[in-house]
């Protein structure tokens, strides 16, 4: 009796989980399927076809031939790498003394860092734009990336990581005559690389996904990132859904591949932000 109830529970769990998975993955599969249709095929067939018949990869070529989509992707990549480098370096340097040194003003500074967590950049859209303008960085990748180099989340995450290291580690290095910068660069930071990698992935993802801020800062088409280019061709040109679908897959595929190969780091990044 109890056993059959347990079995029922397990079966029910799988059914519910499968339905949920269909809700989350179904639309994405539909995009893949649509991207393989020629523009004169009907993407709204019921029931949807997993692999359209006949199928074509022509849309993928067309995306690069008829749009400057290669340029958009390259721009997105440049911007993301710039953001990752800046955020990783600034977060590590800022978090380190907060975790491992005593100094006057430490608590105040940390409070100022934490306060940024509840005040997202979107609330400062106008003044930040005017500052970017003041520094002459409108329509540059620097203008998009630099305001995000300091990340409250990043500093918090890295501080948590540095806090876990034992004091003996530093003492031993110091006895061997290592200076502060060397201890930071060669002893402690290598040990928090998993956290740094999690931060890098999240920053990359955030930059790859960013829309409003690049939309405001980048105003020439040749500077457009992939999301901006995609929205532009979707909204203004009303390009065919089959073509848009192919472009969409090109935009999300790199991130999904990264996600699948580094799943563990994603999860540790999310949970690292909650703890503490």
């Amino acid at each position: 009796m109890a056993r059959s109830r347990r079995h029922f529970g397990v079966v029910l769990s799988y059914v519910v989980m499968a339905l949920g998975a269909a809700v989350f993955v179904g639309p994405l599969i539909w995009v893949v399927s649509t991207s393989l249709m020629s523009p004169d095929q009907n993407p709204f067939l019921i029931p949807p076809q997993l692999i359209p018949h006949p199928f074509t990869v022509g849309n993928y070529a067309a995306v690069f031939k008829t749009w400057p989509f290669g340029q958009y992707l390259f721009n997105s990549l440049k911007l993301a790498l710039l953001s990752v480098a800046g955020t990783a370096v600034i977060s590590a340097f800022t978090a380190y003394p907060l975790a491992r040194m005593e100094f006057a003003g430490k608590r105040v500074f940390f409070a100022l860092v934490i306060a940024t967590l509840v005040l997202p950049g979107e609330a400062m859209l106008v003044p930040r734009y005017l500052l970017v303008n003041f520094f002459g960085m409108v329509n540059t990748f620097w203008g998009v990336a630099v305001p995000g180099f300091f990340s409250g989340f990043g500093v918090f995450l890295m501080r948590q990581a540095y806090l876990t290291l034992p004091q003996e580690l530093e003492d031993a290095a110091r006895m061997d005559g290592a200076g502060e910068l060397r201890i930071f660069g060669q002893i402690t930071t290598p040990l928090v690389l998993p956290s740094l990698a999690a931060l890098a992935i999240f920053t990359f993802l955030g930059s790859w996904d960013a829309f409003l801020w690049p939309l405001v800062i980048l105003n020439s088409q040749k500077m457009y990132t992939a999301p901006l280019g995609l929205a532009y061709f979707f909204g203004y040109f009303g390009a065919s859904w089959q073509l848009i679908a192919a472009a969409s897959i090109i935009v999300i595929l790199p991130v999904i591949v990264v996600f699948i190969s580094l799943q563990r780091l994603f999860v540790s990044g999310v949970t690292g932000a909650v703890k503490g």
Partner: protein, 301 residues
């Protein structure tokens, strides 16, 4: 940084570094923090008191922007829409918790499901919004499906109906956001000792009682975290609106942030946009304050 080994330091466990070392480490981050967070926060107040626009010498005009703001029905509409958008918060606090409890079982293949549920989180919002636009447009996947199942005679213009459009946009926010909160809750559920659940079972507590009296009190901090983060998210919604509705129909999806963006970058009224931005600022501070107060409280039954 140090020149050569120093014998007294070597034997002294309480090593004293030069006082300025921590500040050297902090300096670059501190400069960026001030320039890009604290200066804008105060600069915004100043801008909002001027008639700043591209190409003009901005002049101090006092509270004129705010007066105009408060007398603009579209502003009040956008404020209401932003508050209405907070409907996603309870959804994002509760649904992911239920899913996480489902995914927290020891079952073969459960890792695959966890990965699948997280997938939308890594998909660019522009793509998600475009896909849902193709699903919900008048000749879209949903209407075609419903009509072929004879559940619908006439297609419904989901995105063109003032009463419906905002809910479609919210659905997009929820669909993409849920996976993130599932992971947060899974981390929370790891902290719940299995023995506690088991002993509650032995005591004859049913599922609802176990959730209410064991699980929820223990993961309460995680629920508060999700509440705060999803509130911030709800106030920052932009891409979904831009792609799906452009703020329409009849401004029913024009939230505060969208209003600020329109006033600033379509009408090019920086001062006025900054004034409206201050309202977002105040709203966020107020919401965060309320929620922090709430999160300080323990869950009691």
């Amino acid at each position: 940084m140090r020149s050569g080994p120093n014998r007294s330091r070597r034997t002294n466990p309480a090593y004293h570094r030069a006082w300025f070392v921590p500040y050297l480490f902090l300096a670059p981050g501190a400069v960026l923090l001030v320039i890009w967070n604290y200066i804008p926060a105060f600069y915004a107040i100043w801008i909002s008191l001027t008639n700043a626009a591209p190409g003009n010498h901005s002049q101090f005009i006092g509270l004129a922007n705010y007066v105009q703001l408060l007398s603009d029905p579209s502003f009040w509409n956008s404020l209401l829409r932003s508050l209405e958008y907070l409907l996603v918060v309870p959804v994002l606090v509760i649904i992911p918790l239920l899913v996480a409890m489902l995914l927290n079982q020891r079952l073969p293949g459960i890792g695959v499901f966890r990965a699948l549920y997280f997938l939308p989180v890594v998909v660019s919002m522009v793509v998600v919004a475009i896909v849902f636009s193709e699903i919900f447009q008048t000749i879209g996947l949903l209407n075609v499906s419903l009509m072929s199942l004879h559940l619908l005679k006439q297609p419904i213009s989901w995105l063109a109906l003032p009463s419906l459009a905002i809910f479609v946009v919210m659905l997009v926010t929820v669909w993409k956001g849920i996976g993130y909160y599932i992971i947060v809750y899974l981390a929370g559920l790891q902290t719940v000792p299995k023995e506690l659940i088991d002993s509650a079972k032995v005591d004859g507590a049913n599922l609802w009682a176990r959730v209410r009296h064991v699980t929820v009190p223990l993961i309460w901090p995680f629920m508060m975290f999700v509440m705060i983060i999803s509130t911030l998210g709800a106030m920052q919604v932009f891409t979904e609106i831009y792609v799906l509705t452009g703020g329409g129909p009849l401004q029913t999806t024009t939230t505060l942030l969208f209003y600020v963006w329109q006033k600033t970058f379509s009408s090019y009224r920086f001062g006025y946009g900054a004034a409206a931005g201050e309202v977002i600022f105040v709203l966020l501070v107020a919401l965060s304050y309320v929620e922090f107060r709430l999160s300080g409280r323990r869950w009691t039954t």
